[in-house]
């Protein structure tokens, strides 16, 4: 090795694979990644164990005997009161709630963002500021008046009502996202479209919307995550035939008497989280890109 020190530097810098810098960076990242993965690992491992094993062993040890029983039970057998069909029913309800809610809330919020960014009218900023303050109001505070509002609209207990609620409470953050995104698009594009004879809606549908794919991805992920995981609105503003999956999850996890079936709980938990997780894993790249594309510009 000694002679290498005397070599006249030329050509590419010899790149050491294991430099102290890399050890620190990758070391830290790997440790942190393990920390983040640990709970998921525990969930999966536990859900694959039989109940006796769960009670005996340590939560980190891999299952001695893998069983899918808890998954089956969580999906199709766990009881809520008299209905013993597990999460299955709630799953489709969640889909029925999430799809229109995500779609409509994003549509409305993107129109808001577009109107705010490109068609400023007197007072627009004021309404927007109010909306932003609204983002901070805990939902619990709003339950009662919302019940009254829905009752007066005749939408209480209906899917439409729930979609409306999700649209309203998703509006602040989504509007902020879209407003910032559209504001970051070149103003000249908008002007060119106006000169080309397009009106408010024409520009929105034919110019802005096609350009907002990155931010839509962000919005979709945020909304799918938020709405799919929602429990409070789903249970308060609808009736049992529309109860989302999280209600069943709550019923399985929150049953206070008797033995806790941890393995079933974990399986149910994973099953409930799987849709947002899949969406997230599939489009995570776009998520980061979309956020970079405008969401973070204050």
């Amino acid at each position: 090795m000694a002679d290498i020190a005397f070599v006249i530097p030329r050509g590419a810098k010899p790149r050491r694979r294991i430099s102290s810098r890399n050890v620190i960076i990758y070391g830290t990242l790997i440790v942190v990644a393990l920390y983040y993965l640990l709970p998921l690992y525990v969930m999966v491992v536990t859900s694959l164990k039989g109940l006796p094993e769960v009670r005996m062993g340590n939560i980190f040890s891999p299952p001695v005997e893998i069983t899918f029983e808890p998954w089956v039970k969580a999906w199709s057998q766990a009881c809520t009161g008299l209905n013993c069909d597990g999460l299955k029913r709630g799953f489709w309800n969640s889909v029925r709630i999430t799809v229109p809610s995500v779609f409509i809330s994003i549509l409305i919020a993107s129109i808001n963002g577009y109107a705010l960014a490109n068609w400023k009218f007197k007072g627009a900023e004021f309404f927007f500021a109010v909306l932003m303050i609204g983002a901070f109001i805990p939902y619990q505070v709003m339950i009662y008046p919302t019940v009254i509002l829905l009752r007066e609209l005749g939408l209480y207990g209906s899917l439409t009502g729930l979609v409306l609620v999700h649209t309203i409470f998703g509006m602040p953050i989504l509007t902020l996202l879209f407003r910032n995104y559209f504001a970051a698009l070149p103003d000249e594009l908008f002007k060119a479209a106006r000169v080309d004879g397009t009106g408010f809606w024409g520009i929105y549908f034919r110019i802005m919307l096609p350009l907002s794919v990155p931010i839509c991805v962000v919005a979709v992920i945020l909304q799918v995550t938020g709405i799919w995981n929602d429990f409070l609105f789903g249970v308060v503003f609808t009736k049992p035939e529309y109860y989302p999956m999280t209600v069943q999850l709550n019923n399985i996890v929150n049953t206070t008497t008797g033995v806790k079936e941890y393995n079933v709980n974990m399986a149910a938990t994973i099953l409930t989280g799987i849709v947002p997780l899949v969406i997230y894993f599939v489009s995570g790249r776009l998520f980061v890109r979309g956020i970079a594309a405008g969401a973070v510009k204050g």
Binding site: T28, L29, V32, A33, Y35, Y36, L37, P39, V42, G57, I59, F60, I111, N112, Y114, A115, L116, W119, F121, E125, F128, V130, L131, I133, G134, A135, F136, I137, P138, Y139, Q140, V141, Y144, P145, T146, L149, M171, R179, N180, A183, F200, I221, N229, D230, F231, T246, Y262, T269, G273, I279, F281, G284, F287, V288, I291, A292, A295, V296, K297, G298
Partner: protein
Amino acid sequence: MARSNTQERPSRLFRNLSAKIAAVPMILTAMVVFVGFSVWTVVHSFTKSGLLPRLNFVGTLQYERLWNSDKWLISIQNLVIFGGCMLVLSFVIGFVLACLLDQKIRYEGVFRTILLYPFALSFVVTGVVWQWMLNPDFGVQSIVRGIGWESFAFDPLNNGKIVMFGVVIAALWQGSGFVMVLLLAGLRGIDDEIWKATRVDGVPAWKTYLFVIVPMLRPVFVTTLVIVTAGIVKVYDLVVAQTDGGPGIASEVPAKYVYDQMFLNQNLGQGFAASTMMLLTVAVIIIPWAYLEFGGKKRG
């Protein structure tokens, strides 16, 4: 102002009519839901409403009771602890991770995905999992003891003094990845030439991050701060799922206080009074910010 060939200036109201029509949902949401409901809440906080809202006014009785309630005071204190820890830690962790990921490393996507996935889970899931992880009998404590460190004690969920830190651990697990992504996006937006300039100036990387990059990320920090703070003020599900306010009432938080008063105690008036206090706090913090951010300058 005699104009010969004058065309009437169209009424202000009808300029940009489509835009105004399109903004109706937003205006309604802002005015009816956020302003209207808040006013409604404030009004009813002066009543003795129980299970149902009624206008049987009792003056400031609810507020007196609120500020005499240990539970409320503990809630506030907990929110301060939780919020302080969350803000500091999520930003520190998020920023350090963002910086690490920004080093042009390999498998960046994999790491990023791992750090962010908890964000896709609900607070209920997070609460349940961490309740488990922190369980002294089979969670982290027993594992550490199992590998030989017998005296190791980490049992936050059963210790009222440190229970909030247990909640913070779970909240960080779920939320710091999102902070990381926001900040990473901000870092990516920084002009490459700034980096080159600091390298030529011989500034060490950590100094660059601290003294050059962080100040440049101010707008991103502000946006992130808003999102994180909004989450902190609203914290509810996590506490309910993880500790249900326990042990005792050691991990109560304001949102839970509101909920419990309204639906467990069937004392809406009290719940509304607590809500009003929360609204007030939010307004005090947010309105100046919103004014600076959106009122002062013209374009975002």
